[in-house]
Amino acid sequence: MRASGTVIFLLNGTACTIDFHESTPYTPTTTVLQFLRSHPQLQGTKEGCAEGDCGACTVVIASLNQQSELVVEACDSCLIFLPMLHRKALITVEHIGTPEHLHPVQKAMVDHDGSQCGYCTPGFVMSLYALHHNHPESESSREVAEDALTGNLCRCTGYRSILDAALQVHDQASMTPNDQKQTIQGLQSLQSYPLSIVSQHQKYFQPHDLQEAVKLRSMYPEAVMISGATDVALKVTKNDEVLEEIIDLSSVKPLKELKITDHYIYLGAGLSLEQVKRTVEDLLPALYETLKVFGSLQIRNLATIGGNIASASPIGDTAPILMAYDAQVELVGPQSTRLVPMREFITGYRETSMQKDEMILGFNIPIPNTQTHVKWYKISKRKDLDISTVSGGFRLELEQDATVSHISLFYGGMAAMTKNASKTEASLLGKPWSREQVELSMDIIDQDFTPISDARAEAGGRRIMARNLLLKFWTDTHA
């Protein structure tokens, strides 16, 4: 497979190519939203915030998975770089219906008065389109609908009419069998090759195999690695940074590996958070709870577990819980792979123990036995799609006599990195798991952390939150 600088994708059913080596108004970090807004006939997709928090720019991206099945997902087009569309189908609101021939989800929105000003409406319509493709039957409960729409902000309607619309169409699939067939055929007809875009100011690589990816990583140690780009895209759209070297790992198959044994789950670093969420519901319920309120569906469809950990944000939601599960990070470099305990992986504010020529291959997560309690807590202003003020990934093992034989208390939002409350843990180890003891230990948390004040909360508030999360853990786990 010879790499090429030409991105090829289906734009509303028609093959579209962008050759970055030719004169083009676009760069490899032009977002799909910017691309759409530059077309007079594609103005239905709106910009609301350009940072993945409002969903006005929601589009549907269809692609073929490894089993050649059609995967249909709603995504925020403001966070997707154009080359990420390579070999995918982009579907916008203009494609699915017209005022004279409405699509069933559009009809439902009309019937339930789902618009006021209407600016957010195309984004909602596309979220509904993906929802009803993926949940064509009665499984489209209110909970599923709320989850599918929570990435879409509406300032006028108060959402009720839109949720009612979401529930009206539960028995109609979004794509007719013929649409699906045509989309699959269209995608199959697109040539398959890795991308290697070298433009005046930027290099963008989208390798297909792991070896090639590792080689590129060694060649360009300063390159930004992306998969869903939900975090990295903000550097471009909010901070106007020019990303000079980008390695897009989204097409590297080994990163999508998913293995479940009796004792372990192995999650490839490139699995989307939504895929992870669907996988772990029964086996790792605390991780499931984490992901249930992680970002929006549009974000979870793009963002990967590897990306969330690699960014090493002090308020990243998956780090504390993977630490509580005692996960191991598998790193791959030019010579070999190695395993690093998750608890040692993050070394500082946005710093990890990953070497310049390494990348995360996946995560090995032991499935706790039934006597082990693992819980995840998050305090934020808003329940969903909000960055944690304080979060906690906790693990507890008890002796027969209810004394503590193991306790891990990993906190996010309390320090420059995800960190355990080691003094508090020590104070509980070997002690009875009682309210009295927990209340004594709550006073020790202040010795473990010196939190900061910021726009989300003041330091004093964070201290109370940290204490109360421990109490909540006791409430949820004591006999």
């Binding site: 928090d53 000003c117 195309p122 509406c154 003041e458």
Partner: protein, 782 residues
């Protein structure tokens, strides 16, 4: 003026509905019966433009693309307070792809010195985000590159962004002379002629309801109980999904402005004034706009800049704000520190209300707490002192019941506290002291639906997650904009149109107009083409203050009525009857005496003498006159909201489980749209109560959360079960007797939620938003 006497429905169906006789101008149409007897008015009619919105076909200002169009961007100050020594635009001007540059000589949308003394060459910088200059270029990217090339030499000055700090004697001054602002946010503090001492302007002590009443001292002496409390609210930013912006197309004899505005008429007038053009040469078009909520009445600095850039470059200019600019410069709901002292007798009768407030609209006016304390409860003794405090922050703007939302948050919690002190149920207390008939009906209908009797003593829920119930109520005046005109045209090909410059802010004005015209002409709403949002048509009201429905539906009906009479005249002889004997129903014109004499409405149009007929009507004075001037009608729009919350005492998380919202808006026109708007108002109120908060950095003077990532609004997962009761309330004051609902929907929610939180945890949180942090602090008594 010839008059006639007509009888109109009066009162509340199911409660005290009757009739009232009023003397009205002779050319007014006959009274409509109550909604039950109408075909299209008061019904659930589908939104006229729903299909265009769901398919992406609706073109917003941000979607306008014109041949040769350039993109404008503005340079904004990073510093909150500075003098500009010099500006060097030369590099920006030479940047390839740049077609025009402009430096502001004046900025609009903020308070201005009362006497225009010798100003410097450039306006002083008074907030971080104040625009300085602008460029027009082939693309937004090129324009932004050019902005980086502008060299500004600043003299930095000390600044203050905090409401309390700004009141201290040593605080840096925002203005050194008395100031005024024509287009203040309308929050109640923006009276003219008030003095400024330090950064504090005021107090404003009177409103259209009058000035102070009675004798406070005497009132408090007569009280059995006195409540004294201070309540605080935060700055909230509008966050319309479509940012502010315009496209200005300056042709030699006509300027066309596509504007994301809720006030086409005002944008036209402001543009004409700035550029010294006849109003007739300025056309403003708003086909669709992505939300306004009060912040989009004006041309704005962006509109002025786009005008200059268009004039200089000779090409159309598009200038849309980005999300950060929207947060920091385009308006907000000012914060408040709201002191209340209320005296009451044992039976609940109020003896005195003393109110004092301080709020900041940044560099603007209008940070009062509204008039709700003055009007909602009977109290013989009353005084208010509302102060504007200037800070080096972006100007406030009107927002859904400006001032009153802040005021209601305090007042309705005070009433809740007072009820507890007096050992009265909150509803019983209001029954004693609130004379409004509509609110009484709303309270009791709402209480039944909500099952208010479930309410227990504060903090009596035994679990870790505690439930609580609360209620609050509000008042909003019925405001009428007399300068509201509609034209109805009928064409020989069968088309019927209504035209007005009034715009649809998204609430459904287009649909409402189609219903009113269809009802009058015996047609269906879908038969009526609504052409609005264009100043080529007769002037309409602004979409603010819940003014539109009450202002434009009567002239719309009256124009349709006049047009109908013209048509009757033309067909009477054909039907061998007298025009006065004709009526319309179900697409037919027929004789009331002999139903066999009839002609289809569309057939009648085909036989017209001319290709089209037209009739125009303007808003008549209210039947029986106005309460104040020619704008404030008698009566008010009452609303009562109930909230049920659960509070997690370990995480501090407040979940609103249920809201019952009971509202009136005179004669309701479109039930679905009213419900939709109430839902939206409640959810905005919920964001205000729990999440939204502009956080300023005292070190830099910048907003720390000028985005959607950290500025949080409710999403679909947070919405409670909302049950809406609409109470018809006929007053017989106009040919439609209809009013708006935008403001009332939003006023009481935060107070109802706060009262419910108190009922849940037994500790009152005096400052919104009620965050987990505040709940935990309250419970842990840190």
């Amino acid at each position: 003026m010839d008059t006639k006497k007509i009888k109109l429905p009066h009162g509340i169906p199911g409660h005290n509905l009757g009739q009232i006789e009023r003397e009205v101008p002779a050319d007014e149409p006959p009274a409509w019966p109550v909604n039950d007897e109408l075909k299209h008015v008061g019904k659930r009619v589908k939104r006229t433009d729903a299909e265009a919105k769901v398919t992406g076909a609706a073109k917003f200002t941000s979607d306008i693309q014109l041949p040769g169009m350039l993109y404008g961007r503005m340079l904004r100050s990073d510093y909150p307070h500075a003098k500009i020594r010099s500006i060097d635009m030369s590099a920006a001007e030479k940047h390839p792809g740049v077609y025009a540059v402009h430096i502001f000589k004046n900025v609009v949308g903020m308070a201005q010195p009362a006497d225009d003394d010798a100003a410097g060459e450039y306006p002083d910088i008074k907030f971080a985000g104040q625009p300085i200059a602008g460029v027009a270029a082939l693309t937004t990217e090129i324009a932004e590159e050019a902005l980086d090339l502008i060299k500004v030499d600043y003299e930095y000055l000390p600044f203050v962004v905090d409401l309390e700090e700004a009141q201290k004697p040593e605080a840096p001054l925002v203005f050194t002379t008395n100031v005024e602002q024509d287009d203040a946010g309308g929050g109640g503090g923006g009276d003219t002629g008030l003095k400024t001492v330090g950064n504090v302007r005021g107090p404003s002590t009177s409103s259209f309801y009058g000035g102070p009443r009675g004798d406070l001292e005497k009132g408090f002496e007569e009280a059995d109980t006195i409540l004294e409390q201070t309540y605080r609210t935060q700055v909230q930013t509008h966050c319309s999904l479509e940012t502010h912006g315009v496209v200005v197309d300056w042709k030699p004899d006509n300027v066309t402005i596509y504007a994301s505005t809720q006030n086409t008429k005002n944008v036209r007038d402001e543009f004409a004034e700035v550029f010294d053009l006849p109003k007739s040469q300025v056309r403003v078009i708003q086909e669709y706009m992505g939300g306004g909520f009060g912040a989009k009445h004006s041309l704005g600095n962006f509109g002025v800049m786009a005008g200059y850039l268009a004039k200089k470059s000779g090409r159309p200019i598009k200038l849309m704000l980005d999300r950060r600019e929207e947060h920091i410069s385009s308006g907000n709901r000012p914060n408040s520190i709201h002191y209340l002292k209320i005296g009451a007798r044992k039976d609940g009768k109020l003896t005195a209300i003393q109110q004092r407030s301080y709020g900041t609209a940044g560099v603007g006016l209008g940070a009062g707490v509204g008039r709700i304390a003055q009007i909602m409860y009977e109290s013989p003794n009353f005084s208010t002192e509302q102060y504007d405090v200037f800070t080096h922050a972006g100007p406030g703007a009107a927002w859904r019941a400006p001032g009153n939302v802040q005021g209601c948050y305090g007042l309705e919690q005070a009433m809740d506290e007072l009820a507890e002190k007096l050992n009265l149920d909150p509803i019983a207390l209001r029954d004693v002291t609130d004379t409004s008939e509509i609110r009484k009906v709303e309270r009791h209908r709402g209480a039944e639906t909500f099952k208010w009797s479930r309410r227990k003593l504060p903090a009596s829920d035994p679990g870790l997650i505690k439930k609580g119930l609360g209620m609050a109520q509000s008042h909003w005046p019925r405001i009428v904009h007399i300068d509201s005109t509609a034209e109805v045209r009928a064409f020989r090909d069968g088309a019927v149109e209504i035209r007005s410059a009034v715009q649809d802010i998204g609430t459904g004005t287009k649909t409402v107009l189609s219903q009113v015209v269809a009802e009058e002409l015996g047609l269906k709403p879908e038969d009526i083409t609504v052409r609005i949002g264009d100043t080529l048509f007769p002037d309409g009201p602004p979409s603010g203050g819940s003014i539109v429905t009450g202002s434009i539906t009567p002239p719309a009906r009256n124009a349709a009525y006049k047009l109908k009479l013209q048509l009757f005249d033309q067909v009477a002889s054909k039907l061998e009857t007298d025009a006065s004997k004709l009526a319309v129903d179900d697409g037919q014109i027929m004789s009331t005496e002999d139903p066999s004499k009839k002609i289809a409405f569309k057939e009648a149009l085909k036989e017209m003498r001319t290709g089209q007929i037209s009739a125009t009507a303007s808003r008549s004075d209210d039947y029986g006159g106005f309460m104040v001037g020619n704008a404030i009608a008698y009566g008010g729009l009452g609303s009562v909201q109930f909230a049920e919350v659960s509070v997690d005492t370990e995480t501090g998380f407040v979940k609103v489980e249920k809201i019952v919202a009971v509202h009136s808006c005179g004669r309701p026109i479109n039930i679905t749209q009213i419900e939709n708007q109430i839902n939206g108002g409640v959810i905005q109120g919920l964001g205000y109560a729990l999440y939204e908060d502009r956080v300023m950095d005292n070190e830099t003077g910048h907003q720390m959360n000028s985005n959607f990532d950290q500025y949080k609004m409710p999403l679909s997962l947070e919405i409670p079960d909302i049950e809406i009761l609409i109470v018809e309330d006929y007053s017989g004051r106009s040919s439609t007797d209809a009013y708006g609902i935008g403001e009332p929907a939003n006023i009481a929610t935060a107070a109802a939620v706060a009262n419910a939180v108190y009922n849940a945890i037994g500790t009152r949180i005096f400052e919104i938003p009620i965050t987990p942090e505040k709940v935990l602090r309250a419970l842990n008594k840190v």
